[in-house]
Amino acid sequence: MKQEFKIIANLVEKNTRALDVGCGDGILMEFLKNNKKIDIRGIEISKKNVQKCVGKGLTVIEGDAEKDLIQFPDRSFDFVILSQTLQAFLNPEIVINELLRVGKKAIVTIPNFGFWKVRLHLLIKGTMPITENLPDEWYTTPNLHMCTIKDFFNFCNNRKIKLDKALAFHNKKTSFIKNSNLNIKNLSAELGIFLIEK
């Protein structure tokens, strides 16, 4: 399992109810179910992945997070997880609002467009950055709304979304993001991991 999932799993409290939005083939769900006794549900857009999840005995519905979160009642989950897909939505703000409506807390991870390699790529090569976390060409990328850790941090502050935890992830290491080190983390981290609530 990738390191990012381990960090997410650490943020989820045991014996709670969680929804994995865009759960893929269910690796994180399986881990949370088996290791943290989470009552876990998933929503996934790809039929193939839904079928894989079903094969693992996971409860997943095929659906589009942008349209289908509406069916879940307010605060029906303790945690709602969104891993590296926020930037792919037509309207990320609506999705964030939905995550925070459906879940008491949400865990959101974002590939950081402020990472120095990304900035350098654009500065030196003058073409759209391609990195490990952003592997697609500009014409094939599903990412419509790239943002930086700083953007997301500011977004939460402006929208009065409480940042319970803000973590920077780079080279298999995590560190806390604070107001005081925001500019540095925004340059040095590949990934931002946020535990938020309204």
Partner: protein, 372 residues
């Protein structure tokens, strides 16, 4: 219909009050089973059949001599593996394969009931079939499953008996029969009733049969079970055993010949009055209305794990209607999975060899059986 007396039956002596108000007593339920009920009695799957189905899910149907209607899904090593599970299926009341229906004889007059048979509902069908649990002394089923009208019975079963099944699989169905579906059913009924041989439903007593009407009803319905793309790919404008158009009303096109064949084989195995009664039951089905507009209430008492399946090319019971069931279940935090299977085979997909459907179903059933 010969050989019907050879089918297995239970006689239900507990009176059943139908939705129409009438009470029925000592009525037969014809059933078939596959596989073996284990000692713990926790491996039973109750399959509900669709409009023109019957209790012969798998193997060879002893009456039609054809494969059982769900042979792709039920049998040794199939999605519902009869090496592991005990599969029960019974003919719905109103049907014509041995369960109480309009082709039964009224003991007071010694005549065939015909349209004096009471109008039954999906709810009545489910309540009647519930007697099989008592008969087999099964406290809780492992699974209730069915497609189309079978799926409606799954939903009604959980509504009526919230904790009598560990898992429920409604496939290609709806919680409320749509105007379009009522319209198609009415077309079929009118076709039967327009046949001069229908005789107000009294044809059997007069040695007559509305074969033409029933056949046209089947032809029209059959179109709704397929998709435009599926029809086009299979038949296109191909001609039937001829090089050119004949400038007549013969079956020039293969699709015409195919539909005529479907109609003609259907009348050999199905009773016209049963067709009227069962389509009526489908039309009356509205689980949403049963709960004053809130479908979630139908399932609120239940701890059953649901898996809803729809098909991309099914326009008769489209994904949107299947999703409404999922939405109602999610609204109450029920355990529900959902997948829409890609298929060109229309509503009939659930009956056919659609590998992704069958493997997904198999996975769901097997993993659910292992879970506590």
């Amino acid at each position: 219909m010969n050989n019907i007396n050879k089918t297995k039956k239970i006689i239900v002596d507990k009176p059943l009050k139908l939705d129409c108000g009438k009470i029925i007593n000592n009525f037969p339920i014809a059933y078939e089973t596959y596989g073996t009920l284990n000692e713990k009695k926790d491996n039973a799957i109750l399959v509900f059949h669709a409009l023109t189905g019957d209790q012969f899910v798998s193997g060879v149907n002893p009456i039609t001599k054809k494969d059982g209607w769900w042979s792709y899904a039920v049998g040794p090593d199939k999605a519902m593996d009869t090496n592991k599970y005990f599969v029960i299926c019974s003919n719905v009341i109103g049907g014509c394969m041995g369960s109480y229906g309009p082709s039964d004889i009224d003991p007071t007059t010694n005549k065939i009931l015909g349209t004096t048979f009471p109008v039954v509902t999906i709810n009545d069908m489910v309540n009647a079939q519930y007697n099989l649990l008592d008969f087999f002394k099964i406290d809780k089923l492992f699974c209730v499953i069915g497609g189309s009208m079978g799926g409606m019975q799954v939903l009604q079963f959980i509504n009526n008996f919230p904790n009598k099944a560990k898992i429920a699989v409604p496939i290609a169905c709806t919680a409320s029969h749509s105007a379009q579906n009522i319209a198609f059913n009415e077309l079929g009924r009118q076709s039967i009733m327009a046949d001069a041989n229908w005789l107000n439903g009294n044809y059997s007593n007069e040695n007559s049969n509305p074969n033409k009407g029933l056949s046209v009803a089947r032809m029209a319905a059959h179109i709704t079970y397929l998709s435009k793309k599926g029809l086009q790919e299979k038949f296109g404008r191909k001609l039937q055993k001829r090089d050119d158009l004949k400038f007549s009303f013969d079956a020039d096109f293969q699709i015409e010949s195919y539909l005529r064949h479907q109609g003609s084989v259907f009348v050999d195995r199905f009773d016209a009055n049963s067709y009227l009664y069962i389509t009526r039951a489908m039309d009356y089905f509205d689980l949403i209305k049963q709960h004053d507009g809130n479908l979630s209430k139908a399932f609120i008492q239940s701890k059953t794990k649901f898996f809803v399946i729809s098909f991309t090319s099914d326009w008769l019971y489209p994904t949107s209607e299947n999703k409404d069931i999922v939405i109602a279940l999610n609204a109450i935090g029920a355990d529900v999975g959902f997948v829409e299977i890609e298929s060109d085979k229309g509503h009939d997909s659930f009956l056919l060899n659609v590998p992704e459907f069958l493997s997904t179903l198999k996975n769901f059933i097997n993993t659910s059986y292992l879970m506590n």
